[in-house]
Symmetry: C2
């Protein structure tokens, strides 16, 4: 990989494309063997990697002192923290031990005697993955790519450059002794190279930007390659008129406060008018007790006026329209009243309409006792996650049981929500015949007709 | 719909988006009822539709006389041909009777007691479909969209404008009496409107251009909305050294000559050096007998020199490099020799590499007696269809048994190959809980742990 830093973006992309085709012909065992080798090599190179990492940490310390880097970034850089290196190593084995996402037959049809059709999962090809500065992430992403049979071009956050180069050198050397082609995993170092790679739509099949909104938007605006990612996580919850008050308090407080900086945290609360004076105050009090600021529309603010005391007054303010489209990523929540309406379903539809107009199609939730109301909400909300009486914070690959997560997608095609290994595959149709001709089925008396018989998988 | 021709592209797209969310909450039975109503209404309006169609036909006849329209287009316009109208009507019922692609649960996991995760197929949302001038296509596409729960904005070829307007008026009136919102199916009439709609990526989720390469390229180059389609169908076949000669002749002649203008027809033939003088001449003679011109590299041309006689000489010429990237759509075939090589798999890999470099990722085929060679070819070829000993002409939704076909995709994400109703769906994750909080699972002793138990579907 180090040797490739001098290659042009076109050469990098082309060599990745060629490698990807060979990678697609390897068995699951051959890909797993490469992950075993990767694990061993990284374990063996621990000292070299930590030495490189300490140079990143030292540079980051200087940057923090100079006031140009956040302390929290510095903390995430340090691979020598207790358990961190072991976690990285274990991560490779965990990915290795997941079910092979390649070669799964999802449809098998007997078209005619001796002529079968199969729909089989296969790698997408070449991924361009742009990721944050945590040094252990490169090992995880390399493992995911190899496991799913995809070649990957990687660009990591610049604060971890030394660590990434050390780890990628080890990866490169390790896979050189396996069936996985060396160009399957390539590291690039500058944003300029990334810009050029975004033009390589002949060779690169999918871009996965993991990082700031600005990065995601930049990528979306500057490439014809499909992009898997999410710029925003604007999650909403709706308290319906028949909500269980205890459930409402539990799931809304958790959605907002469990980890406010996460994309699956709650940003907007919709409250049915009929429960403004019953359920809502209890929810609001629990949120205020956790230090959450509430930006309320007039009705919801009025409902709280007699309930809040002392300092909590400063946490309640008037919402402006843009609050309903803001991802606060902080202890702030926008609150809006959904008018009660006697026609069946009208209030529910208004809540759904608000969400579809303002949310980022990430994860949205309803609190209700009614199964039919919940089902209508879950079908009507146009989001990757539609939740009933459960915290939006569950929208996560690990929590969904996917074993790992490449990212969360708010796209409407290919992959949505938390994306695991399956999201890095596509399918192809394999047809196996014995000299079959289409002309024999064209119906002008030549005799053959379709069987189209579903075969067991 | 007629009333909507005065709406702005933004209003058209927005109303489609709102309609799509309501459509997504309807049951399969409610969507099917709309198709039944559609069928009845079109049957009842037969005279009006045929009158409108006759105006299109008359205009086309004048255009043919003036030499500005092809006779074959004229023929396809005429809905009054025997059986044509009945076919259109039957098509709506056929789509109605397909399995509902919406609401299929493909994964169900018990995350913890009372907390379940489901992955459920759902409509994509709003489709923009641009299609050819055959008048019956609008009824088929409207039926596909409603069946799959998607709203659709339709633009058809201008030669059928009168027919489309008549049919869409009937569609509009018919669905007004059903649960399907009126704005679910909207017809637009000008290419200018289409250009503006391509900018509506907030509201439109997928564009499906069916038509000329130029149209597909124009759409791909002018929108951020995902595009499902194919610009080219450059299919290749490879005759391996161990091919069965009879099979080679049958499948290659069929792939090339069954319908040369189709995207799944053969354009390039790769021949293993060892069979240049054995199998290839038989294949070539069968092709020449059907009038196919062969553009040969020096070795393959030389192999034919002593075999061809008389007028056939004029059908064999020298290939130039661009022939291997040309979709002839005619009785022309490019031929290239794959060098024999003693290292196992080298020739096969060379054939695969040629295909991956030049093909359009549509459908490619190998003729071989060896299962392991065929499997390696099918895994290594980066195309939607990978065929063994069977004609490339089988790459078709009807032949695959999908019941219907929206189009063929050469994309590498979302949908590949012939796209049926399933290709018009995506999925969402539904989580049903009972007040579950993520904080209870964060591992710091609060006690709850994941079950991640696979539940039956």
């Amino acid at each position: 990989m180090m040797s490739l830093t001098n290659s042009s973006p076109g050469e990098i992309a082309k060599s990745a494309s060629i490698a990807s085709r060979l990678l697609a012909t390897l068995s699951g065992a051959e890909r797993d063997d490469a992950l075993t080798a990767l694990h061993e090599a990284i374990a063996k190179s621990r000292n070299d990697i930590l030495a490189a990492n300490s140079r990143d940490v030292a540079a980051a310390e200087r940057a923090v002192e100079a006031g140009v880097l956040n302390q929290s970034v510095l903390k995430r850089l340090d691979l020598s923290r207790p358990g961190k290196f072991e976690e990285m190593l274990q991560g490779i084995l965990s990915v290795r031990d997941l079910q092979d996402p390649v070669g799964n037959v999802t449809m098998r049809t007997l078209l005619d005697d001796g002529l079968t059709l199969e729909k089989v999962s296969c790698p997408i090809g070449v991924l361009l993955i742009i990721f944050e500065a945590r040094p252990e992430v490169i090992a995880n992403i390399a493992a995911l790519s190899i496991k799913s049979g995809n070649a990957a071009i990687l660009k990591g956050g610049k604060e971890s450059t030394e660590s990434f180069m050390a780890i990628s050198k080890v990866i490169s050397e390790a896979i050189a002794h396996t069936q996985v082609p060396k160009a399957s995993i390539q590291l690039v170092e500058t944003r300029e190279v990334v810009s050029s790679l975004l033009a390589q739509n002949t060779y690169i099949d999918l871009v996965i930007p993991r990082g700031s909104k600005d990065l995601v938007r930049f990528v979306q605006d500057n490439t014809k390659i499909p992009v898997l990612g999410h710029a925003d996580g604007l999650c909403s919850a709706y308290i319906h008129r028949d909500a269980d008050p205890d459930v409402a308090v539990k799931v809304i407080v958790d959605s907002k406060t469990d980890y406010p900086a996460a994309c699956n945290s709650l940003e907007t609360l919709l409250v049915h008018e009929d429960v403004l004076h019953t359920i809502f105050p209890a929810v609001a009090e629990a949120l205020l007790a956790k230090g959450v600021s509430l930006r309320c529309d007039p009705s919801s603010k009025e409902a709280l006026s007699s309930k809040i005391v002392g300092q909590q007054h400063s946490l309640v303010s008037d919402a402006v329209e843009s609050d309903y489209e803001t991802e606060f990523l902080d202890l702030i929540l926008a609150v809006k009243t959904i008018p009660g309406d006697d026609s069946p379903g009208k209030s529910l539809d208004a809540a759904i309409a608000h969400i579809n107009r303002h949310s980022s199609k990430h994860t949205d939730m309803i609190v209700t006792r009614s199964r039919s109301t919940a089902e209508r909400f879950m079908n009507g909300v146009d989001s990757a996650g539609a939740f009933w009486n459960a915290s939006t914070r569950f929208a996560d690959g690990m929590r969904y049981g996917f074993g790992t997560e490449v990212g969360i997608s708010t796209n409407k095609v290919h992959s949505r929500g938390p994306v695991g290994l399956d999201g890095l595959t596509i399918y192809k149709y394999k047809v196996r015949g014995q000299g079959h001709r289409a002309a024999d089925y064209s119906g002008t008396g030549s005799g053959k007709s379709w069987k189209h018989e579903v075969l067991p998988l």
